[in-house]
Amino acid sequence: MTAPPAVRVVIARCDGRDPHRAGDAQLRRLLAAVLRCPPTAVPLVTSPSGRPEVAGGAGPWGSISHTADLVVAAVSTVGPIGVDAERLDRVPLPPARLWLAPAERRTGREDHGALVRRWTAKEAVAKALGRGLAAPLSAIVVTDDTTAVAPNGTRWTLRARTVDDRVAVTLAIPAGAPPTRWTPGSAAVTIVDTGEGGSG
């Protein structure tokens, strides 16, 4: 039997389902493929910070995000993972002082879409760190389109996609992780490499 990819993302439409339930179902299916068990047998628990985790904490690792009518689920067998999705036209964005690092505020004016992408990158790292609501977004520094540095000094690889021309999705995985397999979980979901997330 072929082993599933080490890092995999599925993006699907909610199609009227509750997005939380839809995300949970997608994540269970991905984890079940890794654990070689039925989706209902995946020992999924919620951490105190609200992150879905496989009981025991030794992996595989998963993350979920949803926005508009899309749900995104990601799994990794190589370490903690975080994924975040956001509509590119979402307004208002919070004031820069609450989520951009001082160095990022000095880099000049970004257009709205670039700011949304930066937001998803930071959120993805925060989710991977498992800090929940207390995640220090302003202390997570996106150094370039493919790398972020967390407050604890760990470096994270970012992989970004645009879905249906209107939603930004960014994945944060440990630096050096193997390529990611991105899969539409529903018909007519268009996933485009933004060219900012590197290969995979």
Partner: protein, 83 residues
């Protein structure tokens, strides 16, 4: 304090206008009840900071999850502001 509660409800209504039309259970998890995400939360923080003249450190954001928790936290914050 009642004033703080009024400000919290007004700030919430800026983020989720549907909240203005219904009573808010003081103990309910606001993020779950109104499906607010982390971007909504930061916009709420900005609204509260602007209305009440306080700063809210990131480590304290979880204390804003319920109306009762937020009012108690913010009252304390205003009584003992951190430089």
């Amino acid at each position: 304090m009642e004033d703080t509660r009024t400000h919290v409800l007004a700030a919430l209504a800026e983020i989720a206008p549907e909240i203005a039309d219904e009573p808010v259970d003081p103990g309910v998890d606001l993020l779950e009840e109104y499906d607010l995400d982390s971007m909504d939360l930061l916009n709420l923080v900005a609204a509260l900071e602007g209305r009440l003249g306080v700063t809210i450190p990131e480590s304290d954001y979880p204390r804003l999850r319920t109306l009762t928790g937020a009012v108690g936290y913010l009252d304390g914050r205003m009584a003992h502001p951190t430089p």
